[in-house]
């Protein structure tokens, strides 16, 4: 008994319900998980030897296998199975769902859908469908026939979970159309992956924050005077101002040294708190003009004087 309970968690040990148009309303399916097997009344099939190797390739060509055979107004899905010849099955899940609901079957309890043609070998005798029809294996094709034409010597069999083939279609009521299983799992996995990345990044920021606090404590220990925000601000202002001004002075002197060329002599150079001023003595007027243009290129203010003198100033 215990063993059976354990096995019941496996799909193949769940009850298999044969779905046909003449079936009675089903009671007691509200809580019981089950598999269903459809009769050919709910699908169209073809068995063809096609030169494809993989299921995904067969699925791609499946719609073309049924060209002109299906009702254009319905929305078909396709099931394919590899065998000696490929088995192609077209079915309309919405039609099946509405039929199941009509028969009182709780859709959320259906685990998998199977097709009678997948279990040909098990249909060694007819399976009675209600009072008038029977499901028989006619030359390798499952067919619904009137019971009247059955051979009286062949005794009908009952369908059991032994009929469940190796593979079937996963039935998921809500997700079948809008949110298929695979996509759901892939998307959920991607979201979780991103969530993990965000969490790692977030914790990195947190850790960094802690590290900074430790660094600050270390710096304040080494430089206690900087622990006061007011002192820090004043010192920073003082040194920023000094750094900026002194760098500027040196930059202007460097520019002046770059623009000097043969025929130019420095006469005076004055560095004060506001500017760097210089006077150059040039050999002739051409050199004065050239030096002046070089100075303006360096964004320095130049002023020509008498005796080929040129004053160049850089403001701080």
């Amino acid at each position: 008994m215990e063993k059976q309970n354990i096995l019941n968690f496996m799909e193949k040990n769940k009850e298999l319900l044969l779905i046909h148009t003449d079936m009675q309303n089903v009671e007691g399916t509200k809580t019981k998980r089950m598999n269903i097997m459809l009769t050919p009344q709910f699908y169209t099939l073809r068995r063809e030897a096609v030169p494809v190797k993989y299921i995904y390739q067969a699925k791609k060509i499946a719609p073309s296998m049924f060209d002109g055979l299906l009702d254009d107004t319905l929305n078909y899905q396709y099931y394919v199975e590899k065998g000696e010849r490929w088995l192609f099955i077209a079915y309309d899940i919405e039609k099946i769902k509405s039929f199941l609901v009509e028969k009182g079957i709780a859709l959320e309890n259906i685990v998998k859908i199977y097709f009678a043609d997948q279990s040909l070998s098990h249909f060694v005798s007819p399976v009675l469908l209600g009072t008038e029809q029977a499901l028989v294996n006619l030359n390798g094709i499952m067919t619904v026939v009137p019971q009247k034409i059955l051979d009286t010597q062949s005794s009908p069999i009952e369908i059991t979970s032994q009929f469940i083939p190796k593979k079937g279609e996963t039935f998921n009521l809500a997700s079948n159309v809008s949110m298929p299983n695979n996509e759901t799992y892939i998307l959920a996995a991607i979201f979780i992956l991103f969530a993990a990345m965000y969490t790692v990044e977030g914790s990195r920021y947190d850790m960094q924050d802690n590290k900074e606090s430790e660094k600050i404590a270390e710096l304040f220990e080494a430089h206690p005077s900087l622990s006061s925000a007011y002192t820090r601000k004043n010192i920073l202002e003082k040194y920023n101002r000094l750094d900026k001004k002194e760098r500027q002075k040196r930059k202007i002197v460097k520019k002046l040294s770059h623009i000097i060329f043969k025929g130019v002599t420095l006469q005076t150079l004055t560095i004060s708190d506001h500017s760097v001023q210089s006077t150059f003595k040039c050999k002739d007027q051409n050199i004065v003009n050239k030096l002046s243009s070089l100075a303006s290129k360096e964004k320095l203010i130049s002023q020509k004087g008498s005796n080929n003198l040129l004053s160049i100033e850089g403001k701080l």
Partner: protein, 131 residues
């Protein structure tokens, strides 16, 4: 049994919730870091230390003293008081003038004033600075 009906939707909603939760956690941590006063304090402190290292380094004094020996001592008038210096360089040749100016420009000192003049092809430099 209703939850089985919407199993995939529930999975998606949960995954999205986890994603959003993680995203907001990251954003919060990131913003907290951006707005964090500790970063400003750290940056300020580091900058002050770096600037002090340049402009108030105790080892600067030895570099400044080297200025005295850059040309012949007869050409130098040196007057140092505490952290202030007045120095005059007289009768500098072009080469010496360039050498003195290069040295001054590379010293971590605050130049209060500097005057250089050419007199009879010789340069005279007067500088007041502090550090």
């Amino acid at each position: 049994m209703q939850f089985k009906l919407y199993k995939n939707e529930i999975i998606m909603v949960l995954a999205i919730c986890v994603l959003l939760g993680a995203f907001f956690y990251k954003q919060k941590a990131q913003n907290a870091q951006k707005d964090d006063a500790s970063i400003v304090i750290l940056q300020e402190t580091k900058k002050i230390i770096a600037l002090k290292k340049v402009w108030a380094d105790k080892s600067s004094i030895s570099k400044i003293k080297n200025l005295k020996n850059i040309v012949s001592s007869s050409k130098v008038k040196w007057n140092k008081k505490s952290k202030k210096l007045s120095v005059s360089f007289l009768d500098l040749s072009n080469k010496e003038f360039n050498k003195v100016m290069t040295k001054i420009m590379n010293l971590p000192i605050e130049i209060i004033s500097l005057e250089a003049k050419e007199v009879d092809s010789k340069y005279k430099v007067e500088m007041k600075c502090k550090w």
